[in-house]
């Protein structure tokens, strides 16, 4: 047998479920499609189909196991049958190019966002958003570290005027999302579409700079805008506040500054900003 014959056979065996069905029905005919030599066909024909099926099972069970741990909430909301069905549908369309196994999780999330049209969307109208949220958790958890070394200033050691000139440094592992569903609250006890209300839910999702676990905070107009501003080029607190008050046409500057300073303090405590620089 040639390498090409072999690789065609195992490719189809692993990628196309009908090959197993066909092997079970008529092993000789199926093998004929792949192997020219009668000796090869006879030799392979001596092996139980179960042996061939093991390869496909290994791959699909590997995916099933990995996905369940990567999307724990989503998995907990569907039956075994539903879960296997959606993964099978994904698997049939999946043509992963990456040698890194964990990349399959993003592929699955992307599949649910762009391709999946199945029945689960009726049962779980928030399916796509929940999958995106769970995948984002993984993405942040494994995201490559940045090499930046910062020298931070403690704002309590400077005057309030000087403090306004400090530049807050945003944690590089912060993501902002606004979902139409409260994905951060969904669980087995809170999953019925009757209970889970459609709306606008802003979340700040971030990797804690020391513990390196993934945390979230519910966002509002001020916190979301502030993080957006911090994402731009480094700017002082004063510059950021001035830009935000102008953009949002805020006239009560004193209240805004007080609230803004308090939010920055909260961000620092939570690890959303890393510290302040001159």
């Amino acid at each position: 047998m040639s390498l090409a014959e072999t690789q065609n056979f195992f490719f189809d065996l692993c990628a196309k479920p009908d090959v197993i069905v066909s092997l079970k029905k008529n092993k000789e005919n199926t093998l004929k499609k792949y192997f020219r030599s009668g000796w090869d066909r006879e030799f392979l024909g001596r092996y139980d189909t179960e042996r061939f099926q093991t390869y496909r099972n290994h791959i699909s069970f590997g995916i099933l196991g990995g996905m369940a741990s990567a999307f724990p909430v989503l998995r907990s909301l569907v039956s075994d049958q539903e879960w296997n069905e959606v993964l099978n549908q994904f698997y049939l369309k999946r043509l992963t190019r990456s040698p890194i196994a964990r990349h399959v999780f993003s592929e699955f999330s992307e599949y649910l966002q762009k391709t999946y049209r199945g029945i689960l969307l009726k049962k779980l109208p928030y399916l796509r958003d929940l999958a995106e949220y769970e995948n984002l958790d993984l993405k942040l958890y494994f995201a490559k570290d940045t090499a930046n070394q910062f020298h931070f200033i403690d704002p309590s050691f400077v005057s309030p005027e000087e403090a306004l000139q400090l530049k807050p440094v945003l944690n590089p592992f912060v993501e902002l999302r606004t979902y139409p569903w409260p994905v951060h609250k969904i669980c087995r006890e809170f999953c019925s579409p009757k209970k889970v209300k459609n709306g606008k839910y802003s979340l700040i999702i971030f990797r804690h700079p020391q513990e390196l676990d993934i945390r979230f905070m519910e966002g509002n107009l001020l916190t979301m805008n502030l993080i957006e501003a911090l994402r731009q080029k480094p700017a002082s607190i004063q510059e950021i506040f001035q830009a935000l008050t102008k953009k949002n046409k805020i006239h009560d500057l004193q209240t805004f500054y007080q609230e803004g300073i308090a939010v920055l303090g909260l961000f620092l405590k939570k690890g959303i900003i890393l510290g302040y620089q001159l």
Partner: protein, 279 residues
């Protein structure tokens, strides 16, 4: 021992004296940051680590994934890994990656093809490279007219590629049951002087004549016996325990490591007595 994330906590707390090096699947630690990477780096600073890949797809007809190899090389350099390895198999075809080790036919064509690619990988990685005998459940076609047996196939690859042999004793046992051959005769036919190190693992018996290579159970007596025989045949550079499923507490794996040490020690005495007689 194979490094598992489940053991990071215990290992960082107190590294058992029995563990003198780790094997990792580099795919799990490459191109990442965060907690897993931080914990890995802390361990890699304390103890030698070798890279055992699962996705180089050495036997594939696809071109080598040079981008991935470049990333692997960077990773190896960054962490000063002294050795890299992968399996005698293919795991991708038509650029589609499978998370499994698929068998190659035991033919001259396959020997030449995989050996050439192993040489290329060695040139790129610039560290000693070993290839592992893989388990398989159904063969990739019949032996060719010249009748290359699996052990001859592996020996030919080692010779032609210049690679070292990562000998998986459990895989020999699994294949010997699944394909009905004498594992002791198989051992004798291998280039034992090219062994880089040895894998020991457990498996799951599905039927009398069908074993799944799960790495998910304790090592059974016949596999220990094979290791004993191997250690009698040659002085082994190193032996490790692989456990990828049903991960037990570290203590349980350390008990298996102690069994490895006692086998190696017993056979070392045997080799010493042989050299004493010879001198």
């Amino acid at each position: 021992m194979g490094l598992r994330r489940e053991h990071f906590g215990s290992l960082l707390n107190a590294l058992p004296a029995e563990i003198s090096w780790f094997e990792i699947a580099p795919e799990n630690y490459m191109e990442i940051g965060g907690k897993v990477y931080r914990d890995f780096c802390q361990l890699a600073e304390k103890i030698p680590v070798v890279a055992h890949s699962v996705s180089l797809s050495l036997g594939s007809l696809d071109p080598l994934n040079r981008n991935f190899l470049k990333q692997l090389k960077n990773f190896i350099r960054t962490h000063h890994l002294p050795l890299a390895s992968d399996h005698i198999c293919f795991s991708s075809y038509q650029q589609v990656q499978f998370d499994d080790l698929l068998p190659l036919p035991f033919t001259e064509e396959a020997v030449k093809h995989i050996s050439k690619r192993i040489r290329q990988v060695q040139e790129i990685l610039e560290v000693p490279f070993a290839v592992e005998n893989a388990s398989y459940y159904a063969p990739a076609g019949a032996p060719d007219p010249a009748y290359i047996k699996e052990e001859a196939f592996i020996s030919a690859i080692i010779k032609e590629s210049g690679a070292l042999l990562l000998l998986d004793v459990n895989n020999i046992y699994v294949n010997s049951v699944n394909h009905r051959f004498d594992p002791y005769a198989y051992l004798k036919a291998l280039p034992l002087d090219r062994i880089a190190y040895v894998h020991m693992a457990g498996h799951r018996r599905k039927k009398k004549d069908f074993i799944l290579d799960t790495h998910g159970a304790g090592i059974i007596h016949p596999v220990w016996r094979l290791l004993d025989e191997l250690a009698r045949m040659t002085e082994l550079p190193a032996v490790m325990i692989e456990r990828d499923d049903n991960i037990p507490p570290l203590k349980e794996l350390v008990t298996e490591l102690n069994q490895v040490y006692s086998i190696l020690k017993r056979n070392q005495k045997y080799h010493e007595s042989l050299s004493h007689v010879a001198s």
